[in-house]
């Protein structure tokens, strides 16, 4: 376990030694932004919209007291979305999609000797392959989280009005009332940290794959599991530290 942590930190350190030209990283990072960010838009949009809708309906179903004004439903939806659902839930979904993709891609490159080929050419394979993935993730995942938060609130709005739980005016009032501005940077800080964790842990699992196709599958699964555990641990730590 300790050895694996050490290996992970050494790998992270190796990303910044024997680097290639800036132009190379720029091109690769743009590719990764498209691969990680743009290609994940649909799944993030679907998940976020439904999560927002479900949160709104379930909150409405539980707030049955006539003493609680209806706009509180929107306030609760907003708080849950910004603090937890948009950053954490989106990143758990992305750990499954992006994390497994990174791990299986690097794992396949490892077992088919493509990583060795890079090393023999005198290229720092870790830096060339992993750094653009991490940069691509920390650029696009906070953007996805922002989109997710917006769509989640929109989903809540549509569901709230469609079910008659509250009016459009009440919903708008609810999401504006007692708004804590820090929740937005907090969600983005979480997104940055989670983006780094998902990409680096998955890359580590894939990069050190040994064996064949079966082990690539195992690396991919381990990448998702470890990323999710790390997300939850850091979710707790960030909440404890920043709120």
């Amino acid at each position: 376990m300790i050895e694996k942590f050490g290996q992970y930190f050494i790998l992270m350190g190796n990303l910044f030694v024997r680097r290639e030209r800036f132009k190379v990283y720029f091109r690769l990072t743009v590719d990764e932004c498209i691969h990680i960010g743009v290609d994940s838009l649909l799944i993030v949009a679907i998940v976020s919209s439904f999560i927002g809708a479900v949160t709104c309906i379930q909150t409405a179903a539980n707030l049955v007291s006539p003493l609680i004004p209806s706009y509180i439903i929107a306030s609760v939806t907003r708080e849950m979305t910004l603090l937890e659902l948009a950053p954490t839930f989106t990143c758990v979904v992305l750990a499954g999609k992006v994390g497994s993709n990174i791990a299986s891609q690097l794992g396949t490159m490892r077992i088919s000797e493509q990583i060795d080929a890079l090393e023999v050419m005198g290229i720092n394979s870790a830096s060339y392959l992993i750094l653009p993935k991490i940069l691509g993730s920390i650029i696009t995942i906070p953007m996805l989280v922002t989109i997710s938060a917006f769509l989640s609130l929109l989903g809540g709005f549509v569901a709230g009005i469609a079910t008659g739980a509250l009016t459009a005016k009440e919903y708008i009032q609810g999401i504006q009332s007692d708004f804590i501005a820090f929740n937005v940077p907090f969600a983005l800080i979480k997104a940055f940290v989670f983006a780094f964790l998902i990409s680096s842990i998955s890359a580590y699992q894939g990069y050190y794959t040994k064996g064949g196709a079966f082990q690539v599958g195992q690396s991919s699964t381990t990448a998702v599991v470890n990323s999710c555990i790390a997300l939850l641990v850091f979710d707790y730590l960030l909440a404890q530290l920043l709120l």
Binding site: V17, R18, E20, V24, T108, S112, E113, Q114, D116, A117, E119, V120, M121, G122, I123
Partner: protein, 250 residues
């Protein structure tokens, strides 16, 4: 010239290489032969720096390699071309892009110079027509030839080939062997080929090292290998009926 001196390597307490020494001359096709699991590939990986030997020294034209700094290693590695067993082509890149890759990453050539060089190398291995295909769209033999083109595109001084004939039919295998030998002579490279292919050994083995249980136990040329008196080497060579018959009739 590549030299390795007293190379030792163990994995999980099991000794894989035991005091292996050898000299691989420039302009020659140097073969490392031996049965599966005798340490040939580990020796090759030590030579190219993919595996760090526990003990011993590796020298490229007198320049220390395994004890060198990362920067020194990198500069030596840029003089090395390697053909991997499975080709190790980048799946997402076309044949042309695969061959172009080392130039894109490591050279300061202009775009047109790079393109000319890539097409020259592809022509040299007879694959100019397949430039736009993906690795998944070409045969195993073609993939090996693309691997050779990629290995020579930077004009390397040292060429390594790991099992260049594995998974190939005899005719393609001979074609690959001949290509390796021609390139070695043409560019005066130091070529090291790891193989257990008997045809390769008798075709291109200008200098042969035989490995057995992690040790070098015989060294010579293709002209004298059939007359060797080492029992392990005899068992290895004459396991093949064709060669056994050849020996009996000679």
């Amino acid at each position: 010239m590549i030299e390795c001196k007293n190379i030792h390597k163990s994995f999980n307490g099991k000794q894989i290489l035991k005091n292996v020494s050898g000299v691989f001359d420039q302009g020659k096709t140097n073969l490392i032969i031996g049965a599966s699991g005798t340490g040939k590939s580990v020796l090759l990986k030590c030579l190219v720096g993919l595996v760090q030997p526990d003990e011993g020294e590796i020298l490229y034209d007198g320049r220390p390699f395994n004890h060198a700094t990362n920067q020194e290693k990198q500069s030596i590695r840029r003089e090395i071309g390697m053909l991997f067993q499975g080709g190790a082509l980048f799946d997402s890149k076309t044949v042309e892009e695969n061959v172009m890759f080392p130039l894109e990453m490591l050279s300061t050539m202009s775009k047109s110079e790079k393109s000319d060089r890539v097409h020259f190398c592809l022509q040299r291995v007879g694959l100019d027509h397949a430039a736009k295909r993906l690795p998944s769209e070409i045969s195993g033999g073609m993939a090996k030839r693309v691997g050779i083109a990629r290995a020579i595109v930077m004009n390397p001084k040292y060429l390594y080939c790991d099992e260049p004939n594995s998974g190939l039919d005899p005719q393609t295998s001979i074609r690959i062997d001949n290509l390796i030998q021609e390139i070695t002579h043409e560019y005066e490279m130091t070529t090291v080929v790891v193989t257990h292919d008997m045809n390769s050994m008798l075709e291109i083995g200008e200098h042969i090292i035989f490995m057995f249980q992690g040790e070098k136990i015989w060294e010579g040329t293709k002209e004298v290998i059939l007359d060797n008196k080492v029992s392990a080497l005899q068992d290895f060579i004459f396991a093949n009926k064709l060669i056994r018959d050849m020996k009996e009739h000679s």
